[in-house]
């Protein structure tokens, strides 16, 4: 062991301390002011994923799909970003799909099937079926039906103890069955509004986990560039059980082969309790 030279420092050496703090404090403050939160972590992950995926894919001149024809429906988001409650009325073209963190899906005619891979990794196996009901230049509508099996003690499956969950099911698995009527309306070729009306049925051997709740979400999307969009999310969910309102802002990238989005939001219940959440996705798209 190397024996360092002992020293004795008394913290009331104010001048030294003030000098040091003047250098250090702004740095830590800056880090905090920049909201070095999950959002930053998510951003790093998204950048890393995008960079990796783009090695072989030059995103040169990636124009918005269907730009060459004014008669085709304008491009809109296929997936919502608030789990269980937010959907869009659009589905992918036949034979196309994506493999991503939040959604993996493929479409055949009016039907799109998929899963949420990140939940599968955490042991919450799930599947989603989306059925196109109507599509015109401005309006699209679809039914979405999902099945999730949330394992016992799902709240303990997170990494470390970073994100304390409001939901806990310590004694039995829970089935989540959301059914949603999702609509998408394009005001212009760059501005769209998605709204989905969802009924969520929960079933479990734990009596308190058996209930039916409802939610209504709004999701506005503005394509500021052919491949970039800024999006606002709002809604009320869990009505009849524990109503929670949410508001969020996210940014999306719609490349030809790589797509992703990133955002953060806030939930508020009727008593005024508040919680933050992160929206994150990165996906490889195949046409």
């Amino acid at each position: 062991m190397s024996e360092s030279v002992g020293f004795r420092f008394f913290a009331d050496d104010v001048s030294v301390r003030a000098s040091i703090q003047s250098r250090v404090k702004p740095a830590t403050r800056l880090a905090y002011d920049l909201q070095m939160t999950d959002l930053m972590v998510s951003m790093l992950a998204l950048i890393a994923l995008s960079a990796t995926a783009d090695v072989q894919v030059r995103l040169k001149d990636v124009a918005a799909p269907s730009q060459d024809t004014e008669t085709a429906p304008p491009p809109v988001a296929i997936n919502g970003s608030v789990p269980l409650w937010e959907y869009t009325g659009a589905i992918r073209d036949t034979g196309s799909g994506q493999v991503g963190w939040t959604d993996a899906q493929v479409a055949f005619g009016p039907v799109q099937i998929g899963t949420k891979p990140f939940l599968d990794l955490y042991g919450s196996y799930n599947a989603e079926l989306k059925l196109r009901l109507y599509e015109s230049e401005r309006l699209r509508a679809a039914f979405v039906f999902g099945v999730y099996r949330v394992p016992t003690a799902a709240e303990s499956r997170g990494i470390g103890n970073l994100h304390a969950s409001a939901f806990a099911n310590p004694y039995a698995p829970v089935w989540l069955l959301p059914f949603s009527f999702a609509k998408s309306f394009s005001f212009t070729r760059t501005v769209a509004l998605h709204w989905s009306s969802t009924a969520l049925y929960m079933a479990s051997d734990e009596a308190a986990q058996n209930h039916l709740s409802f939610g209504q979400t709004l999701f506005a999307e503005w394509r500021t560039a052919p491949v970039w969009a800024v999006r606002a999310h709002a809604g009320i969910t869990g009505v009849r059980v524990s109503p929670v309102m949410h508001g969020a802002l996210s940014f999306a990238y719609y490349g030809e082969y790589v797509q992703g989005n990133l955002g953060a939001g806030r939930r508020v219940d009727l008593a005024g309790e508040q919680s933050s959440f992160v929206m994150l996705d990165a996906a490889l798209v195949f046409q």
């Binding site: 062991m1 972590v41 303990s156 470390g160 806990a168 310590p170 969910t237």
Partner: protein, 466 residues
């Protein structure tokens, strides 16, 4: 290294998605009539800070008492032992492995790993017991970088979890780190101010949920709230004629010891050969940086079955006592322990060669002195099963001296020097147990916390997670 960092950040980000999903699941109210018991483990709330907050009107109507921390009074060890959640290798992340005859998680690397392993990726079993620890991926970083600024979002998330989990759980256990950090970084006034703010937030929360939640909080240790000299125990040993080494060597005729020098605390754990225990304890106690040194003396043969002998050295003078398996204490030559200022029972004959006290009587005799519950705390520091490799010799330092083993890059030596804990002294030892729903007949040993709060005991055993 870059890859590891990116992967780790990616994993944490992925976990945010999972947290977001679970947060979207509605939680029905399973028991609307019963009040929910909320237990907050508040790291490092000292008696002095609590009293300061009370004197300014906070925690009005709460019952409270002293909670005597285990020795050494440091967080991971205290929480693990207090909530009975298994066994640690040592009193802190850095420890001495006798099998490999070397230190593990040594130095700065160990410190860097501490928040990653204990707060992020792989928390100790005790931290898994908490329904709430922090508000996201960087909660420990934010908590340490600016404890006051990070408090509001942490409390927001904590109350959100309490409000929702309280719909289905009759008892909840949450954790708050910020008071400990602000006590290290800002001293007593800022700790008091933070407690007042926490009380205000609890009051506001209860007004939003009338008659629904009852709060109890307890701390894992106190804080001396004194600026301290940072000293290197390796230098201390050298100055008293003990060789400081990385490993133990029976062929080395010189008295030598391996000090565990990790985060800044005012105790030192040392490992040495059996033959050197007495010499290390006696010599180190003569140093001005040491208040008391102590050891378990396994080779004392005249103690008797079910008894173990322990020695405490103070300025080179040796004092001994025995502790039985049932906690009974037998003090040798009680008249000599004048520095302890113990309040021996009236029937005790202080001029007798030994004084035998049942566990509770020994507790009562010492709890109001400078070294609360000295006998049990010293003995169990060596014998409690929550540590698999206890020290051979422990040093307890004065409140204005703190051990550290390395220099942090940049300004690290000059930050967070406003108060420490770990020692046997009153400031370090006195935590707080305060409650809106429980009353207390007197000071409580940290080891007795779960018996004092049966609903918490039930909650902890019921949440043994897979």
């Amino acid at each position: 290294m870059k890859t590891i960092v990116i992967l780790m950040l990616g994993l944490c980000a992925c976990d945010a998605s999972y947290g977001g999903f679970l947060g979207a699941v509605p939680v029905a109210d399973g028991h609307q009539e019963a009040p929910v018991q909320v237990y907050i483990g508040m790291d490092g709330v000292s008696r002095a800070a609590f009293e300061g907050a009370r004197s300014r009107g906070a925690f009005s109507g709460w019952n409270d008492t002293d909670l005597i921390a285990n020795f050494p009074a440091v967080s991971d060890y205290s929480w693990t032992r207090m909530l009975r959640t298994g066994t640690l290798h040592g009193y802190d992340l850095e420890y001495f492995d006798p099998e490999k005859n070397r230190l593990v998680n040594e130095g700065l690397q160990g410190v860097v790993e501490h928040p990653l392993r204990h707060g992020v990726l792989d928390p100790l079993p005790v931290y898994r017991k908490f329904d709430f620890m922090g508000d996201g991926t960087f909660w420990t970083v934010r908590g340490y970088s600016d404890p006051e600024a990070s408090l509001p979002p942490v409390l927001d998330e904590m109350f959100y979890v309490i409000a929702n989990r309280g719909r289905q759980q009759s008892a909840l256990l949450t954790y708050l780190m910020n008071v400990d950090v602000v006590s290290h970084q800002g001293g007593l006034p800022r700790a008091i101010a933070m407690l007042i703010e926490i009380d205000r937030r609890i009051t506001d929360f209860q007004e939003r949920h009338p008659n629904r939640f009852e709060f109890t909080f307890f701390s894992d240790h106190g804080n001396a709230h004194q600026q301290a000299a940072l000293v290197d125990p390796r230098v201390l040993l050298r100055q008293v004629g003990v060789q400081s080494t990385d490993a133990l060597d029976p062929s080395n005729a010189q008295v030598h010891a391996v000090p565990v020098v990790h985060v800044r605390v005012n105790f030192v754990a040392m490992h040495t050969l059996k033959r050197d225990i007495v010499a290390v304890g006696e010599r180190s106690s003569r140093h001005a940086w040491v208040d008391l040194s102590m050891a378990y003396l396994p080779d004392e043969s005249d103690v008797g079955a079910h008894w173990r002998r322990f020695a405490i050295w103070r300025k080179g003078e040796r004092f001994t006592f025995d502790r039985a398996d049932d906690g009974t204490i037998r003090v040798t030559n009680p008249a000599a322990w004048t520095w302890l200022k113990a309040q021996w029972p009236l029937h005790a004959m202080s001029d007798q060669p030994t004084l035998t006290l049942e566990s509770d009587a020994a507790f009562a005799a010492t709890v109001s002195g400078q070294y609360p519950d000295l006998f049990a705390r010293v003995a169990t520091a060596f014998t409690d099963p929550s540590i698999s490799t206890p020290a051979d010799v422990l040093l307890s330092m004065p409140d204005d001296v703190t051990s550290f083993g390395f220099h942090l890059p940049g300004a690290g030596d000059h930050l967070a020097v406003d108060g420490f804990h770990g020692a046997l002294t009153r400031g370090s030892s006195l935590g707080v147990l305060a409650s809106q729903s429980h009353s207390f007949s007197g000071p409580v040993r940290a080891d007795d916390l779960l018996e004092t709060l049966p609903a918490l005991q039930t909650k902890i055993s019921a949440t043994d997670k897979p």
